[in-house]
Amino acid sequence: MVIDQQRGAVAILGTGLAGLGHAGGRTEQEIIAQASCRAVEQSGLRMKDIDGIITSSLTSPWWVMRMAEYLGIRPRFSDSTMFGGSSFIADLKIAAMAIAAGECENVLICYGSTPRSVPSSSRINQMRAELDPQPYEHPYKPFNPVSSYALAAARHMHQYGTTRQQLAEVAVAARQWAQLNPDAFSRDPLSIDGVLGAKMISDPLTVRDCCLVTDGAGAFVVTSAERSRALHAKPVYVLGTGHAHWHRQISCMDDVTVTPAVDSGRRAYAEAGLRPSDVDVVELYDAFTINPILFLEDLGFCKKGEGGAFVEGGRIAPGGDFPMNTNGGGLSCTHPGMYSIFLIIEAVTQLRGEADARQVRDAEVALVHGNGGVLSSQATALLSTSL
């Protein structure tokens, strides 16, 4: 059967957050369940209406079974493919395909983790390395993921003249947005010099060029656009999605300044029938300050090599003409291991006009872009208040 990937065939209903920052003793299953219950309730549904579930874990390969068990869901459709931090945007495409194929009606997508309150032991980190062996990289002891992104940043600086100040602009803008978001974890003032002078982790990236390590869980529900109108006053339509991956390890990337976002973005724009200039608000996975610079280029907001200049002068900060990462991003809002579910939740919040002090005026079209691994997996979606 050929699945017709129709533009806007599915919509996002309710969303839920829980345990942001510090989960205060609750387990990851508990905060995911809390976020999921909120998302289902805000969708105008009951848990028994959820017949599809997609989730994944950095640790457990049995995760979707454990979460369905916990929530009392007996899914007709489930999926747990691991695309790292990009997973939950890639999952939008999987959910849309499952719904279009008639496999299920209402899909819960959820994720959470508690790396701040329960840091991974060295034993767990060792086990993860053994379960995903990289014998041609691990002997050199890259401090991953930071070092792999540092290699991309260093090359971008060499090739295009991008500066550490331009990288720092990304972190400073994220902090200014976070100061408008009561849910954000890091809200102290941060200056360019504060980023440049912070502890160097893997040159050219300081600790302030790196995302937070926080607890947090997020969830949202996807259903057909047709059903969504009866269930929710403001469904957010998924106009287009795209996903691409070319490598797993940074040493296997052809050009570390060009990511598979060029493919994921092209597919998402094509399905949505939109261009970069149609987008009102942009949420890009900022695991490191170099990431949004690469994605702005690869997603067509500027030319390759011009991302550094693009973010200068507060352009992406509150009051700038290019509202980006409006919740404070992974750099200043939250980052529990994998982040992209929070990009979707923030975009939905903006498109519904519920973002309070950080609300982007007249936001009708949002682009969300998730990244996984070491620039490895890229997933893009275009979301809108209308079809």
Partner: protein, 127 residues
Amino acid sequence: MAMPADVPSADARYFGKLAEGIFEIPRCRTCSRHHFFPRVCCPHCGSQDLEWVAPAGAGVVYSSTIVRRPGGDYTVCLVDLQEGPRLMSRVVDIPVDEVRIGMAVRARIDQTTEGPLLVFIPEGARS
């Protein structure tokens, strides 16, 4: 029925040779291209007709970072071999902040307590 003779994995073949002080990488007999990391099939064309060859050892630093750790700073680099493949490695024998993108380097095998390690030294330096 006789069990088939053991064939070492590509990883075992690579690291076994490295332990003997020999640096070899796979080359495809079908499309003539080298690849790295070693595989049983060519990532360029899918052929399984591969041979192990010794690269010249010459490379250029494609990118580089200094990892700042409590035990001491060290470099992690991506090096492009003259034969084409890129690999992760380390430039040694010079201060970490003197490693530059575009620098010509030459391969050397160091035997360490954690096993053989392919590293690079600046071209022209004495090994």
